[in-house]
């Protein structure tokens, strides 16, 4: 059961708790350190996120050991995670994998995997895209065949996946592969024979990605055979709403940094924020951040409370287009406002620039986002 109608006060409490946790655990120094490790996150921090804040189980229904909150509450957490550039398996495990399990409607698979995810014991990844990076059912080439002809539920997957977020470290892999019935979702143990995961070099070191090679890897079907196309569309809708929240947080942080610098940095004997050229740049960033925040939160609200038919899909896609653009623009302008120091390695501005571009290009990039948005508006 999804608990909806969480009060404004409860959400602000959640925000304050997550923010103070991240101030302590995801400082710029911590982010830089985590991004240099092989895992790309600090397992201790992840364990604390589970124990102290119960974040991995936030949207997992109570029957599977979670707290059953909705997208609005998850959005609050992701805004804060985006602000802090948190390196963690939260996005891969909760926003992608847990949502895929829930969207599959497979009670048995949910009962098997979600309690571990909710408790923070299991990290998971969702492997969809292949070499092109597209989230398009037509482009799925990875094949699934039955392991035995006796009708038992064992399958074997063969093929390769790319751009799999946290794919090298995840204990559980959820993989879209093609059967004779069409694209379908499978669960694969990350350590199973026939699975090779190789970390990819990434533009944004705070979000790990991997290439997976599957060579007759043993797998279990999740949900209905051939239902993968519809499932991908549903997961993508909720994932882009989650991503939008993260982007809002990142953009907001860029805006705050720019405003702070414009207030304090002096040139020609006055604060640079007194010059309209700089002041208006900051105001433009504010406008975009406010709009991004509004459309991202509105999409999350509709996900929880419902709306007119098609309203969620259209608003989610609008949030994806708008927030991708707003974060990228805020990250670029933040470097501009900071003058020469903004593009140095030591300054954190480039970390946001990398995250913004990489996020904008996730799930197919702007042209795919545009088409998806227009399609959802019936155009």
């Amino acid at each position: 059961m999804t608990v909806v109608g969480t009060s404004h006060e409860e959400l602000e409490e959640l925000r304050a708790a997550v923010r103070s946790f991240l101030e302590a655990k995801s400082s710029e120094e911590a982010v830089r350190k985590a991004a240099e490790t092989e895992l790309r996150y600090d397992p201790q921090v992840w364990a604390q996120m589970a124990e102290q804040l119960r974040l991995p189980g936030l949207i997992v229904p109570e029957e599977y050991g979670g707290d059953g909150f909705g997208q609005v509450a998850l959005g609050v957490v992701l805004e804060e995670a985006g602000r802090a550039l948190l390196c963690s398996p939260l996005f891969a495990t909760v926003v992608l994998a847990a949502q895929a399990l829930l969207a599959s409607g497979d009670h048995e698979a949910c009962a098997r995997h979600l309690p571990g995810i909710a408790a923070g014991r299991t990290t998971a990844a969702l492997a969809v895209a292949e070499d092109s990076g597209a989230w398009d059912p037509v482009q799925i080439r990875t094949r699934a065949v039955r392991a035995q002809e006796d009708g038992s539920n064992g399958w074997e997957l063969t093929g390769s996946k790319s751009f799999v977020v946290d794919g090298a470290s995840a204990e559980l892999l959820l993989v879209i592969a093609r059967t004779t019935a069409g694209p379908s979702l499978f669960a694969v143990d990350g350590k199973a024979p026939g699975v090779t995961a190789e970390a990819m070099e990434t533009l944004d070191a705070t979000r790990a990605m991997a290439r997976l090679r599957l060579d007759a890897a043993p797998a279990t079907l999740v949900g209905t055979d051939g239902a993968g196309g519809r499932l991908m569309a549903r997961v993508l809708d909720s994932a882009v709403v989650g991503l939008a929240a993260e982007q809002v947080g990142g953009a907001g942080r860029c805006l705050d940094a720019s405003a702070e610098y414009a207030r304090t940095r002096t040139q020609f004997g006055r604060a640079i924020g007194t010059f309209q050229a700089v002041k208006h740049k900051c105001a433009d960033m504010l406008v975009q951040v406010e709009l991004a925040r509004a459309v991202a939160r509105e999409a999350a609200r509709i996900a929880d409370e419902g709306g007119e038919p098609g309203e969620f899909a259209a608003t989610a896609a609008a949030a994806h287009v708008y927030c991708s653009r707003a974060f990228m623009s805020a990250a670029m302008e933040n470097i501009q406002v900071h003058g020469g120091i903004g593009f140095t390695w030591e300054h954190p501005a480039h970390l946001y620039f990398r995250r913004a571009k990489s996020s904008q290009l996730m799930f197919g990039g702007p042209s795919a986002q545009h088409e998806r948005f227009l399609e959802r508006l019936g155009i």
């Binding site: 309209q276 509004a294 259209a314 508006l377």
Partner: protein, 430 residues
């Protein structure tokens, strides 16, 4: 008027509104039933109607406002002693939402400036007898009101007004020139900002008056815009005598009065999201246009359309959230200024997008329905980025009040106005 003294809950109020509208208006044509090529294809922000058509529309607006007033819907949030209903902004929104489903005259000529900005200003700053007389007259549709603020040398720098008001016993004598005055040619009253003390700093020597527009010496000259229409006016004030009891607020305290109006102005302009122009920006209407002009498959056109619609959707989300937050009793944040900015920008981008797609059909009228019609909106867009506070002023407000950035140095709020004028003249001749 005998109305229930209790505050009805929104659902009960909506039912009451519906009963009123069923009795006095017809349901609007179904917007979802939009068919390309049928009906009125105009997409205009400003009117370009001939004067007799405009007069008739103004009369229809007055009549509808009177009907509303007589049925208790003329001033939903206003105090009962002045003919209001004493309800909340939520009830106002409920009324607007229900009325949008009906085909009623556009009351913008009364509402945008008069009821939206001047009414609250009079309520906050006028003497008792002015309120008793003019507030009911305004909300009953009898007295259209205008804002005599801007001058040729006081646009964005509104505190630089030079129209003089000199005391003569119990009256004041006003001399000067106002400009950009919307609906002055229909107005019975106006609120004027005047300079009463040139020796005080510029914000401190201003006084506001309620001016009866029929007073001798008030001359209204329409200003023709690039759209061909005349929505604004110049107003010349020559030895206009205004009684002291028509003063709003304190002598030399007019800046406070102006701020009341300006705050309401930003809320009003940003809220004009509904209406025929907004309908023109609907995804289905834009898609129909592109289909009719064989451009919907063009990749570059689709990318631009998606970007434009994302801006529009995000603005809608912002407005929806602002309303919901208002309804929950929170005061509005920076949303209003953002919304005002986006209103002008979205229409500007849309008009350029559509006319770029149309190409030659936007340059000259081919007779094809719904194409050249967009040129009317295009020609209004430069004004949209300026009226009600320029984009630059709105950005200064956002940067200074929301982000806390420092003000520009050299803005002199301490020297006597007389000396500032001297400085400006020297700079101007350099």
């Amino acid at each position: 008027m005998a109305h229930d003294t209790d505050v009805p809950d929104p659902a009960a109020f909506a039912a009451e509104v519906r009963a009123f509208l069923d009795a006095h208006a017809r349901p609007a044509a179904d917007r979802a039933g939009f068919v390309w090529g049928e009906g009125d294809d105009r997409v205009a922000y400003f009117s370009s109607d001939p004067p007799e058509v405009e007069q008739a529309a103004t009369q229809a607006a007055r009549d509808w406002q009177r009907t509303r007033y007589e049925n208790g819907f003329g001033w939903i949030t206003g105090p009962k002693e002045y003919g209001g209903r004493g309800l909340t902004p939520v009830h106002d929104m409920v009324y607007d939402a229900v009325e949008a489903e009906y085909d009623v005259p556009d009351t913008g000529v009364l509402a945008v400036v008069g009821l939206g900005m001047i009414g609250p200003t009079i309520l906050a700053h006028a003497r008792q007898h002015i309120k008793d007389h003019w507030l009911p007259a305004m909300y009953r549709g009898d007295a259209i009101a205008c804002q005599l603020f801007s001058e040729p040398d006081a646009g964005s720098d509104l505190a630089s007004v030079q129209t003089r008001a000199v005391r003569d016993g119990d009256t004041w004598v006003l001399n000067g020139q106002k400009v950009w005055t919307s609906v002055a040619h229909h107005s019975r009253i106006g609120v004027a900002l005047t300079r009463t003390n040139p020796d005080a700093p510029k914000h401190k020597g201003i006084t506001a008056f309620l001016v009866d527009m029929t007073t001798p010496g008030v001359e209204v000259r329409p200003l023709r815009q690039m759209t061909g229409g005349a929505d604004f006016n110049e107003v010349f004030l020559t030895d206009v005598r205004v009684p002291d009891d028509h003063r709003l607020g304190e002598v030399d305290g007019g800046w406070t009065v102006a701020l009341t109006t300006l705050m309401n102005e930003r809320a009003t302009v940003g809220n004009e999201g509904a209406g025929p122009v907004a309908a023109a920006l609907s995804p289905e209407r834009l898609a129909a246009l592109l289909r009719a002009t064989w451009t919907l498959d063009d990749h570059a056109v689709r990318a631009r359309l998606a970007d434009l619609l994302a801006d529009i959707k995000a603005t809608e989300a912002l407005n929806a959230r602002a309303m919901r937050s208002l309804r929950a009793g929170h005061s509005p944040g920076p949303e209003m200024s953002v919304s005002k900015l986006m209103y002008g920008q979205n229409l500007t981008r849309a008009a350029h997008f559509v006319t770029d797609v149309l190409g030659p059909s936007a340059v000259a009228d081919t007779g094809q329905w719904g194409t050249y019609a967009w040129s009317e909106l295009l020609l209004a867009t430069p004004a949209l980025r300026i009226l009600g506070g320029t984009e630059e002023i709105m950005k200064n407000i956002l940067a200074e009040r929301v982000l806390g950035l420092p003000k520009e140095p050299g803005i002199d709020t301490k020297s006597p106005f007389r000396e500032l004028r001297g400085v400006r003249t020297k700079e101007g001749s350099a």
